[in-house]
Symmetry: C2
Subunit: 435 residues, 2 copies
């Protein structure tokens, strides 16, 4: 082939960047055949240009990120992460005529609008498959395959660290602190695990998924977020007894009015009990999976490795090939689609189910007072089970679907009841059939 080469400049030479650089060279012959033009790596901007980076030609390495971003390469791949200087560099690259491939979930979830607007202004592509769920092809299916359908709900396990921790708690009966230490030792969790265990990483991904699914601008500030650090072995055990498993879920859903018209979008991240028989119930260890519900397509699930150098590099290279093909064939990838412009609704408006675990005094009338508290708030009880007797008696209540606000108010009322010694566990239940 005699087509002009497609030039690629990398911002970031960490684990993913090094793997992308290596694969661009190693698979050059295949990539040329798939694109219809040779692919040429022209520069790799790193923080410390003096450090040895095996597999990357030293002549390509520079610490001058601004120069790389402004080099006018056909494609600038941003793998630095974080809001700044990534945003400034990406905007500079676009204004120099470069299309951008990025894995930067934090930036996309905080200010995707600027990136899209600048891409549109300069007529360049913006692709970001690697920003959510690593290697799992997920954003392209949402943006393209399901473009003729209406997605109503996305339920995702999108953070490998927390899924690893919850899997170990479930399978080994080890408590949160113990498993977190194990995850840190294995490199599955950072020394400061906050971004993972408090759900912030999942919240950024939830915002990106929600925007694509619902054609509505959603940022991480719109996401109601709760982590897993308060999940106890008692919760895990209660879930097991009911045939459930606890997962940190990113949930993005449309709320419809009684006429079936979408009123708004609710996006939330929190631990939830999921039936073991649900496709998400079997997603173990550090794997990710995203369950999508659409009007015509029905239920779908996408499963795979959500992180790691090689899987993330696979997603980045898929985007590089897509942008390069657009360059060769003419044409553009999809731009921002936020025409539906729905409001973000508070989590109180969400319809969910609750599991509530209560330590009660084992006396006649206890159940009646509890049932009254639920009824008062319009929450209907699905099942109640009593475990133990006397002072150690526990009541485990599962509710039917109600607004989250009503469920919270019910739990607040339960805390005030004299017959209840302690509310030992409260968790949402997702993924059950019916209603």
């Amino acid at each position: 082939m005699s087509a002009a080469p497609i030039t690629i400049a990398l911002l970031g030479g960490g684990t993913v960047g090094a793997e992308v650089a290596r694969l661009l060279v190693q698979n050059a012959a295949d990539l040329e055949k798939r694109v219809g033009a040779p692919i040429r790596l022209t520069a790799v901007a790193v923080r410390d240009a003096t450090r040895l980076r095996p597999g990357i030609d030293p002549a390509l390495i520079t610490a001058d990120a601004e120069a790389v971003a402004g080099s006018g390469a056909d494609i600038v791949v941003e793998l630095m992460g974080g809001i700044e200087p990534a945003r400034t560099l990406i905007l500079a690259a676009m204004s120099a005529g470069s299309s951008v491939v990025t894995a930067n979930k934090a930036l996309l979830a905080a200010d995707g609008a600027s990136l899209y607007a600048t891409a549109a202004e300069y007529g360049v592509d913006l692709y970001f498959e690697a920003s959510v769920a690593g290697a799992i092809p997920l954003l392209r299916p949402l943006r393209e395959s399901l473009a003729g359908d209406q997605v109503t709900r996305v339920l995702g396990i999108v953070n490998g660290t927390t899924n690893f921790i919850l899997t170990k708690m479930d399978e080994q009966g080890a408590d949160y602190a113990e498993v977190l230490a194990e995850a840190q030792a294995l490199g599955y969790a950072e020394a400061d695990p906050t971004a993972d265990v408090e759900g912030h990483d999942a919240a950024a991904k939830a915002a990106i998924l929600a925007e694509l699914a619902f054609h509505t601008r959603v940022t991480v500030a719109d996401v109601d977020c709760e982590g897993i650090s308060h999940v106890t072995l008692a919760d895990i055990k209660a879930a097991q007894d009911m045939g459930f498993v606890i997962k940190l879920l990113a949930v993005a859903e449309l709320k419809f009015d009684s006429a079936g018209v979408a009123q708004g979008v609710i996006v939330r991240v929190h631990p939830a009990m999921v039936p073991r028989s649900h496709p998400l119930g079997g997603v173990r260890e550090a794997f990710n999976a995203v369950f999508v519900e659409a009007v015509s397509a029905g239920e779908m699930m996408f499963y795979g490795r959500g992180a790691g150098g090689a899987p993330t590099a696979s997603a980045v290279l898929g985007d590089v090939v897509a942008v390069a093909r657009n360059k060769v064939a003419g044409g553009r990838g999809p731009g921002e689609s936020v025409y539906a412009n729905l409001p973000t609704l508070p989590i109180g408006d969400a319809h969910t189910r609750y599991y509530v675990n209560l330590e009660v005094t084992d006396r006649p009338g206890v159940l009646a007072s509890i049932a009254a508290a639920f009824a008062e708030h319009g929450v209907s009880i699905q099942t109640v089970r009593q475990d133990g007797h006397g002072d150690g008696a526990q009541l485990i209540v599962r509710t039917h679907r109600a607004t989250d606000a009503a469920l919270r108010a019910t739990v607040d009322a339960l805390r005030e009841l004299p017959t209840i010694k302690r509310v030992t566990g409260v968790m949402r239940v997702e993924g059950e059939a019916g209603e």
Copy 2:
């Protein structure tokens, strides 16, 4: 928006065609926003134009398929199925400048090359997401998301009818004939179920998946195909005892030489025992799922509804939006990619594991003679279990991985052993970790 409308002509007004027509009208406002131009249905060619088709404007209905194909619509959607007249009509549509969206697996698997060549000749698009696994976004991920990776293996449950039958046999202990009758009554199986139960439908899909995964031309004639009509309750029971479940698998894989260079492609459809803990093991009823292994991305799975009017229509409309966007933005979808041009290897070259169920005479030396037969063919035994004693003794053997040819030769040799009364079951085992 003032962009010129994108015109769509439909060939076929059956279940899927009627649903596509209905959704094009019902969702016109959304589709216009997503495409950037209005979408206009211009004609629906049906076999019997006098029959009432609720939801389709009668003025659009005609029996003149040639006229519709040659109408020069921006997009011709072919949903008639079968080789002819579908092929002639598609080629006519392309030569009139129309891009084509089709769900026709039989035609693509028999003669995709003609369609691709004609699309390239006339500079039009060819999309066919709905041809495999209905609504599950699968072909776009293979063609685009994984375009920067090397897919090594695809394992799919791609036929809903056979998965429904095998699920019922597994869960209800009902035998094949009984469940087939139930599936026919429920509309999951045709009156003549041959295409499904003998694996022909899955073989066509396997060919399409293999071509996309391995950048090599594969037709249905290259697929080694075996159905489920001989699967017995004894096989189901043996699988259960070992923690396995029987699935009809479409397997497409690269075979590598000792230096790691791909030597060829093996494509096969057959019932196989899969561990219940494997992601494919939990795929029940008429659901489809495709498990993909790639060098960088690792293991992925795509799960959802493989058939039905609405799910198939969702996939068709996704393709319609993609082609329409290409029209609006300029540019073209991916063309045929068969540059790797690998040979198709016979199934005898496949590396698989076997389960073999033997009715034996319970005498000293039986196991020694059987072990010798395996060893003679270079097949290593993983486990042997004896059930029962005396005349009813059964030996259940599971092998390590060996070539299919060696395994078949071993089974042939076992049939000749005087200590073996009958070989009651032979099945491949897939999806186990290791080796």
